[in-house]
């Protein structure tokens, strides 16, 4: 074990590099990912290393770029399709939802789709309504897709490596605000299996469930709460599909309270679904209503102050947790 710290984007690049070295079937396509190295530099240097056959720039044609990737996957290759912004993945929803997600079942299990779509979402510095969305709920809703949302460099690397070794379509959702964040990633092989939540901070009073960029923010909130004598546990499911229900229920059984923090808009979100699972499975463990703190039900505004006000901030998390605990005291 080393104490090496690297950035999220470098961790992703390492995962791609290692898996491309390991498996000649893995190739990467996307807009500006080869010669330009990707808008967020995740694929920088891969062209020089692996050549134009395996690291390929595409036209700006998201629908068919995803379709070509899915087609190559059903024929046995291992494509990684990078879609610059999750907002642009909407152009390829037919191929994701109607083809990739359903192929295995429609073929009676004979056909598999070892396809990884890498993209990034979330707010970050005023890129406005069409480049800032958190759309994981759309994919979460579709049976047949895996939905992965790493929050740390370690998870990013381990999950991407795992994604490239399993046979089903993966929506690998990164966050634009996380690319430059640093974290511990040991040298050598790391693999993070899907469906295994990670407790990012242990606590006893309340379980805070968050993912992606809400993890660093929730950890900050937990730190602030600790200063006020509140011990918050922070649980990162890391993959929304499959979801580690066992870990969620175990943590809630310990703390008896739960707040779910999501950047995506509150309405129809993954948080609501996790809340419903908890109330169905762990109602008698609860000392307070499960609360979901999500983004406002609005397109993301451009103005920075408005943008920040539209998604949960540290202060909002602290406030909601206190409210949940207060409700418990009153009862």
């Amino acid at each position: 074990m080393s104490d090496r710290e690297i950035m999220y984007r470098d961790a992703l690049r390492e995962a791609l590099h290692e898996e491309m070295t390991r498996n000649p079937e893995v190739f990467v396509i996307g807009e500006g990912i080869a010669e330009r190295g990707g808008s967020y530099k995740v694929t920088e240097g891969l062209l020089a290393e692996f050549g134009a056959k395996r690291v390929r720039d595409t036209p700006i044609s998201e629908a068919s770029m995803i379709g070509v990737g899915v087609g190559a996957a059903i024929a046995g290759a291992r494509p990684v399709v990078e879609i610059l912004y999750i907002d642009f993945a909407m152009l390829g929803m037919d191929q994701i939802v109607n083809q990739a997600a359903k192929f295995r079942l429609m073929t009676g299990g004979e056909g598999r789709v070892p396809f990884v779509l890498r993209t990034q979402g979330g707010t970050g510095g005023g890129v406005a309504a069409q480049h800032s969305q958190s759309l994981e709920a759309l994919f979460y809703h579709i049976p047949g897709l895996r939905v992965v949302m790493p929050s740390t460099p370690y998870d990013a690397k381990g999950l991407l490596k795992y994604a490239l070794r399993q046979p089903d379509p993966v929506m690998f959702l990164e966050h634009k605000h996380l690319y430059m964040t640093k974290g511990h990633v040991p040298d050598g092989e790391i693999i993070v299996e899907f469906g295994k939540a990670d407790i990012k901070r242990e606590g006893t009073d309340v379980t805070l469930i968050a993912w992606s960029n809400m993890i660093p923010r929730t950890l900050e909130a937990a730190e602030a709460l600790a200063a006020e004598g509140i011990s918050a546990e922070v649980l990162d499911p890391r993959t929304l599909v499959p979801l580690d229900r066992e870990a969620v229920l175990k943590s809630v059984a310990k703390t008896n309270r739960c707040v779910i923090v999501q950047e995506a808009v509150r309405r129809g979100g993954v948080g609501s679904d996790i809340a419903s699972i908890i109330q169905e499975e762990a109602f008698y463990d609860l000392d307070a209503p499960v609360t979901v703190l999500g983004g406002m039900n609005t397109p993301i505004p451009f103005n920075l102050a408005l943008e920040q006000a539209s998604v949960p901030q540290k202060e909002n998390i602290v406030e909601v947790v206190k409210r949940v605990l207060h409700a418990d005291l009153v009862a």
Binding site: S64, G71, I74, A77, F103
Partner: protein, 347 residues
């Protein structure tokens, strides 16, 4: 899949391919007989499917290929092992032509365990890894990027195989088709786009909804993709065009578009009475350009076969189809536990 007992098929594929490679222009006796058997198998299969649908044994959608048999038969005779096929929802003929077992296809139509997709795919969604058949797709045009991707994988893996991506005329106004054309041409992918122009996209004639009229083979011009119009009711013409297009792809020259002028005798699906065209129009095509009658005439007039010889073939085809129909009714319904397989399920 052990449950799909392999039937002795009436078509000798190998012979068809050899004959085709030797002399495509003047088809020999064996090749003509192969075409006759193959097209007749598709037609009788589809007639039986229509019948079973009428009896309520097949549910959902069912799109019959009757009238278009020459297209897939002529195309497939020009393929070799490892070549792939992907198509839309009017797909039964393609499956039979790639050599898939009629029993497994029919049992999928009835939604039974012995079907190619264990009853979970249905008429529009079947697949065979063994025959490189990639479905059966229900979203109009979506199989075009997928077929382009299959060709991508073929080139990536440095094979000299070709993907035949079939589509109807209706899909030729879908946006993703043109994105795929661009990529296929840009990367010189080995894909033949076979446009089966049967004149109607569901219930709308191609002229009424296409800016360029019926000249769909021209649609790749902007990308430098060669295109050709072919008499899709003439299996020999189809085969000649197929040889040329496939050779182009195998030589690494990139994609090719073949527009097959063809005709479907039945409605868009079983529930379509096809009131958007006249009975006279249908009857005229049936009586003057039926693909099976054409080959039959070549066989008889050329002295290659007698009426009795052909009757024997009819009989053997009928037996295969009726065996498929029996199997499709005797194969069990899928077990309810099948709902929990072949997809990631979270309890």
């Amino acid at each position: 899949m052990a449950k799909k007992a392999t039937a002795k098929r009436p078509v000798r594929k190998g012979a068809a391919k050899k004959a085709a490679a030797a002399k495509p222009a003047a088809a020999g006796k064996e090749q003509l007989l192969d075409y006759y058997r193959e097209m007749l198998l598709i037609r009788r299969f589809e007639e039986k499917a229509g019948q079973l649908y009428g009896m309520g044994l097949i549910g959902g959608f069912c799109h019959l290929y009757i009238g278009q048999e020459a297209v897939v038969t002529g195309m497939q005779a020009a393929t070799k092992d490892g070549d792939a096929v992907i198509t839309s929802y009017r797909d039964h003929g393609h499956m039979l032509a790639t050599g898939m077992d009629p029993k497994g296809v029919m049992a999928e139509l009835t939604g039974r365990e012995g079907g190619y997709s264990k009853g979970k795919g249905g008429s529009m969604h079947m697949f065979s890894k063994e025959k490189n058949f990639y479905g059966g797709h229900g979203i109009v045009g979506a199989q075009i990027p997928l077929g382009t991707g299959i060709a991508f994988a073929m080139k990536y893996n440095e094979t000299d195989n070709v993907c035949l991506a079939y589509t109807g005329d209706g899909a030729m106004n879908q946006g993703q088709v043109y994105e795929a054309f661009n990529m296929a041409a840009l990367w010189k992918l080995p894909v033949v786009y076979v446009v089966e122009n049967n004149k109607y996209g569901m219930g709308t004639s191609v002229e009424r909804i296409s800016a360029s009229g019926a000249n769909l083979h021209d649609r790749g011009k902007a990308y430098g993709i060669p295109g050709e119009e072919v008499d899709g009711m003439d299996v020999l013409a189809v085969h000649d065009a197929a040889e040329k297009a496939i050779a182009h792809c195998r030589a690494g020259k990139g994609p090719y578009i073949l527009e097959m002028k063809t005709y479907r005798y039945r409605g868009h699906s079983m529930s379509d009475p096809a009131k958007y065209r006249s009975k006279e129009e249908v009857n005229k095509v049936r009586s003057t350009s039926d693909p099976i009658d054409r080959v039959k005439a070549l066989l008889i007039d050329g002295g290659h076969a007698t009426e009795d010889d052909l009757k024997e073939i009819d009989k053997s085809v009928k037996a295969v189809v009726s065996e498929a129909a029996d199997f499709s009714q005797s194969s069990p319904e899928p077990d309810p536990s099948e709902l929990w397989t072949d997809v990631l399920i979270e309890a």
